[in-house]
């Protein structure tokens, strides 16, 4: 842990006010091409900012000596590469999570792999970041993989990026070279929705401008990496976002208690406010915000609470509770941009499910319209997509579900695409357009419901296991029908 925390005594004092919550913890993604030195940079940050314990230090010194990389220097990457295969091959395969704190802030570092084949792991990491450090090697500048990572950071909603120009020691601390790389990146960043880009020249191996200010780069007057990280405000959200709470579960307890449990994904709600179930359009008044620590009068973004309403809306998991005025779209057709994560390419005839905040909706049909070219960062028309691609697509849903646009409300506007066959997460995406009613494309859509599949499912009852089995069989039938060219909708009782 850290020594800095000792300066201030721990007290069982009150928590910060809600608007200060996100100040306390910063989730930080590190990415960039392989060999640009990500693991080394993070190792250096941990080493210099006291995130490394004595036995870990001893183990790293011992292992560095054994591998004799970097001459006599410490191999900081050993702090991050935790899997046996990673240590053997000297590469990062999967994201690593590391934690440290300074007097000002608690940090979560998400170190992501640079190899193109592990881009899906990088996308996983990026989606959890408040902020990204994009690393480039000062000798090579911005590469294809740098552009790909920038595009994925942009896709998953990261708004602030640090361009860390690493290995400055290898180019004689050249300001001209650094400025050229910075200008290069600013030029491609025009393709993205980043709110702030901060370039910092560093040398992870020597520690220059990581925690300690570099003596060799007097021309650089901006903050060191740690100075910036301690001060940056990652929030770029509007103050007056509409209230949303996707329902995770319905909790029932003694005394006729019935509450909707979930995490508030945006906005705030007060006892006495009207809320609406976006799918049915039914409204109710919020009577209680129940927690084990006592009832509250208000709940805001990030709070995990249980809402008790004055009338029973008869809703379940998958519903989204919303404020009255600005509601989600009850959509059955969406357009989205996604990153394909599965080794199996997109197959228009495969069965997919759309996993949104808490809902799981069968996909009736899906088509790819364009792919992002990582050289030009422009979209080009396409119909296929495969692993590590960023694609634009159109998805028809088997039934309507409550959604927002990602650029407005990220946590009710994102999704993962799930294989109906083996449950695998095949893609992660953001909703760019959503509409109601478009999927009811006419009378020639075959609806697969309990009545139509009565013979096939004669052995099934109403238990949760049987409902799941019904859904599985319906998906299988839908796959066969779709491959024969019949448009299909699945109706489950859930």
């Amino acid at each position: 842990m850290n020594l800095a925390a000792l300066d201030e005594p721990i007290s069982a004092g009150t928590f910060l006010a809600p608007d200060q919550k996100s100040e306390a913890m910063l989730k930080l993604l590190t990415c960039g091409s392989v060999d640009d030195g990500k693991s080394t940079l993070i190792g250096r940050l941990l080493w210099d900012a006291a995130g490394v314990t004595d036995d870990q230090r001893a183990a790293i010194l011992h292992a560095s000596h054994a591998r004799a990389v970097n001459g006599e220097r410490i191999d900081f990457s050993l702090l991050l590469d935790g899997l046996v295969a990673e240590r053997e091959q000297g590469i990062t395969i999967d994201i690593a999570w590391r934690y440290f704190e300074t007097k000002r802030r608690r940090f979560v570092i998400i170190d992501s792999p640079g190899h193109e084949q592990y881009t899906r792991n990088m996308a996983t990491g990026a989606s959890h970041g408040d902020l990204a450090i994009l690393l480039v090697d000062a000798r090579h500048g911005v590469k294809r993989q740098t552009r790909r990572h920038a595009a994925i950071c942009n896709l998953v909603g990261i708004k602030k990026v640090i361009l860390a120009v690493n290995k400055m020691d290898q180019i004689d601390w050249s300001e001209a070279r650094y400025r050229a790389i910075e200008a290069d990146f600013q030029a491609i960043a025009g393709n993205f929705a980043f709110a702030e880009i901060t370039a910092i020249p560093v040398a992870a191996l020597t520690g220059a401008n990581v925690v300690a200010r570099s003596a060799e780069m007097a021309w650089y007057t901006g903050p060191t990496l740690l100075e910036y990280l301690e001060r940056v405000d990652p929030k770029v959200e509007p103050v007056d976002a509409p209230f949303r709470m996707p329902v995770q579960l319905v909790l029932r307890a003694a005394g006729d208690f019935r509450g909707y449990a979930g995490s508030v994904t945006s906005g705030a709600i007060n006892v006495g406010d009207r809320v609406v179930d976006a799918r049915s359009g039914l409204g109710a008044t919020l009577r209680r915000i129940a927690t084990m620590d006592g009832d509250r009068l208000t709940a805001t973004k990030g709070d995990a609470v249980t809402l008790v309403l004055d009338t029973d809306l008869d809703i379940s998991r998958g519903a989204v509770l919303s404020e009255i005025k600005r509601r989600p779209v009850n959509a059955d057709v969406i357009e989205a941009r996604l990153v394909w994560l599965s080794e199996k390419p997109f197959d228009p005839e495969a069965g997919y499910l759309l996993r949104t905040a808490t809902d799981l909706t069968p996909v009736t049909s899906m088509s790819v319209s364009a792919l992002v070219d990582f050289e030009t960062l422009a979209s080009a028309p396409a119909h296929d997509c495969s692993v590590n691609d960023i694609a634009d697509c159109r998805i028809l849903l088997g039934r309507a579900t409550a959604l927002d646009l990602f650029r407005d409300l990220p946590l009710t506007g994102n999704f993962v695409l799930v294989s109906a066959i083996d449950g695998a997460t095949v893609a992660g995406g953001v909703i760019t357009w959503a509409q109601t009613g478009a999927a009811a494309i006419g009378d020639n859509v075959l609806v697969l419901d309990r009545a139509r599949l009565a013979g096939l499912c004669a052995d099934l009852g109403d238990s949760p296991a049987d409902l799941a089995e019904f859904e599985r069989r319906a998906q299988e039938v839908a796959i066969l029908l779709r491959s024969a060219g019949v448009p299909v909708l699945i109706e489950t009782d859930q």
Partner: protein, 301 residues
């Protein structure tokens, strides 16, 4: 200090979210309760997640029969006070074969009495998901693990085939034969756990606090003589030293540290200033390089 404690509220909400997602998506979850400080926090968060209802799953303790006596007493009291269902499982086949921490190397003992025992208990109970208190800050291979960690048939973990986990979305749809280990405390650190115990005034096993206890020094580690089964080497004589534990497991395999930290305040201060990582006291992790990853591949937590 507010900046360093307010993040606990974020962590708490994140953990509750994970508990609820798992309970909603899995047919038959179970909470692995190992009695230590992490389990204490895990159980507390589970109660918060489903309050005013009780957690909709039982607790499971894999008892090697070599746990500290104070741990078992604490377990039984906690379960009784909170009115929870507890399943205790021991690998009786291993017991019958005489597997014990003195005659067998830690890797063999752990495999039989912990890993195999856990697999038996999960298979017998038909559980498709197990909550665990593992934290990513504990050890290098844990730092790589997902919140929903999928295990193939036979409970094997393949670190190269982890399911992508994006944003707050947890996909719990199982493939054939798959089960899940769910880790609500993934983003907590040891310091967070102690601070939270302090803020929430949670009771923990007394072994975490310094007291005079009979110990022997062996290979630079202090081992507690918890009962008459402790085998003393020639010349070893138990002596009373003021010690406490940072982590709790099987007493012959868990080293104590010398300390004067006799209450929660002192323990938190000592933890925040510790220069050695927590698992340094776990003898089973030092057995071989990549020891934890190997255990996990075999189905250990």
């Amino acid at each position: 200090m507010t900046a360093l404690t307010s993040h606990l509220k974020l962590l708490e909400a994140e953990s509750i979210h994970i508990f609820r997602e798992a309970a909603a998506q899995f047919r038959s979850p179970v909470l692995l309760y190992s009695i230590g400080k992490d389990s204490t926090v895990l159980l507390h968060l589970a109660r918060k997640a489903f309050w005013p209802a009780k957690p909709p799953f039982p607790l499971l303790h894999v008892d090697t029969t070599w746990k500290f006596h104070d741990m078992i007493a604490f377990r039984d009291r906690t379960v009784k006070e909170l009115g929870l269902d507890l399943i205790v499982h021991t690998n009786h086949d291993g017991l019958a074969r005489g597997i014990n921490p003195f005659d067998h190397p830690p890797s063999v003992y752990t495999d039989v009495m912990k890993t195999q025992a856990l697999r038996q208990a999960l298979d017998t109970g038909g559980f498709d998901a197990a909550f665990g208190g593992a934290r990513r800050d504990e050890e290098a291979s844990r730092a790589k693990e997902r919140v929903f960690s999928f295990r193939a048939a036979g409970h094997r973990w393949d670190p190269r085939l982890q399911r992508p986990e994006m944003w707050q979305l947890l996909n719990g749809r199982l493939g054939k034969g798959e089960t899940v280990r769910a880790f609500p405390l993934s983003n907590w650190t040891e310091a967070d756990v102690w601070r939270y115990i302090m803020l929430e005034k949670l009771e923990v096993v007394p072994l975490y606090f310094a007291d005079l206890r009979p110990v022997v020094e062996r290979g630079g580690q202090l081992l507690l003589v918890d009962d008459e089964r402790m085998r003393l080497l020639p010349g070893e004589q138990p002596q009373m030293r003021k010690v406490r534990f940072r982590t709790l497991g099987c007493y012959p395999l868990t080293a104590a540290i010398e300390s004067d930290a006799a209450d929660l305040d002192a323990v938190v201060q000592e933890t925040l200033s510790a220069r050695v990582s927590e698992r340094a006291g776990r003898l089973i992790d030092h057995d071989q390089a990549g020891a934890m990853e190997m255990k996990k591949r075999e189905g250990y937590f």
